[in-house]
Subunit: 194 residues, 2 copies
């Protein structure tokens, strides 16, 4: 083949970090705490930016797929935490649509509100609910560019029957963003201000 395959692998620390697959996270706060731990470990382990995501079975609270930002190690601007979680979850479910018949109702839990790209991907994914910790302005305040989002992005999802829950453990997620900045982490692709 003239063009090699694109291969996305989760960092090996994720397998070591995650508890047994049967573990359930009954509340959205418990789900969010797991995701915030992923966001922190991702930069502490040196595998990417300080962003985590998880797709959960809404009803049972089982983790279907984790996601972390892998832009730098993967040489790919697309692999934000949300996109990684969608790719892994859809592989696991064998469908490009997590709302397909026979699948559990899925929600995405994210340590920071989605950028314009991830926001655009969410309606294609089949998730039913989005749960967010840090606000997009928290990411912007440390220099990340969230892109040109539609003015009322929450309403744009709710029009498509995707519920949005904001500010769950916002301060804990914000602390990870600030810790990343203080550690000297790179703020990549912030071309708007360049």
């Amino acid at each position: 083949m003239r063009y090699p395959d694109f291969v996305l692998s989760l960092p090996s620390w994720i397998d070591r970090f995650l508890p047994e697959p049967e573990r359930v996270y009954p509340s959205i706060q418990e789900r969010m705490r797991l995701v915030i731990q992923l966001s922190r470990l991702n930069f502490e382990e040196g595998t990417g930016g300080p962003f985590g995501a998880g797709i959960f079975d809404m009803q049972t609270g089982r983790l279907i797929a984790p996601g972390v930002n892998l832009v730098v190690p993967s040489n790919c601007c697309i692999v934000h935490a949300e996109m990684v979680a969608i790719m892994i979850a859809q592989q696991a479910m064998g469908s490009y649509d997590l709302a397909a018949e026979g699948l559990p109702r899925c929600e995405m839990v994210v340590s920071t509100e989605p950028c314009a790209m991830c926001l655009g991907a969410i309606p294609w994914s089949g998730i039913r609910r989005l749960v967010c910790a840090a606000r997009d302005e928290d990411a912007r305040s440390i220099g990340f560019d969230e892109g040109a989002k539609v003015p009322d992005w929450v309403a744009s999802l709710e029009e498509r029957n995707i519920t949005v829950v904001r500010d769950v453990c916002r301060s804990e997620a914000g602390a990870v963003l600030r810790a990343y900045l203080e550690s000297g982490g790179i703020i990549y692709n912030s071309r708007r201000t360049a």
Copy 2:
């Protein structure tokens, strides 16, 4: 590993179809005709939706990476033609930023104007110019959902120093969309109207 790798492979017909790697496409019309052929072959070969993309060296007109919509065969809602082209181009260049120093200036040529997700991805990719054939309303007119795009999406790219050229071979690209519809091609994930 608990979570298998996500592997994206281009369909094998692409290698057979593309001319020698040294071939150059001096004009944007020539680049667009190649991309429209990709969009048509993709559904005729049964490997996905009727959308094509290509990332070109703006100066020489060499194709750096092709892209076609691979949502259905890849079980992944994210792999629109534009996203595939970005993934392949960034792998080939070894950078998550096609605007990194030392790389050729890159442009993306697309058979249909980008959906909300791909629009969000473009500023992260490092491409300098976007060249479009069919309008997003042409895709909407056959039932595809382009998502919630910012009202003036062209201006949103140009604010980030990405030039946008529209309506290049629009009628040829529109003919491919209509041929897809007439062939009974599936219009997936059109949840808005469901």
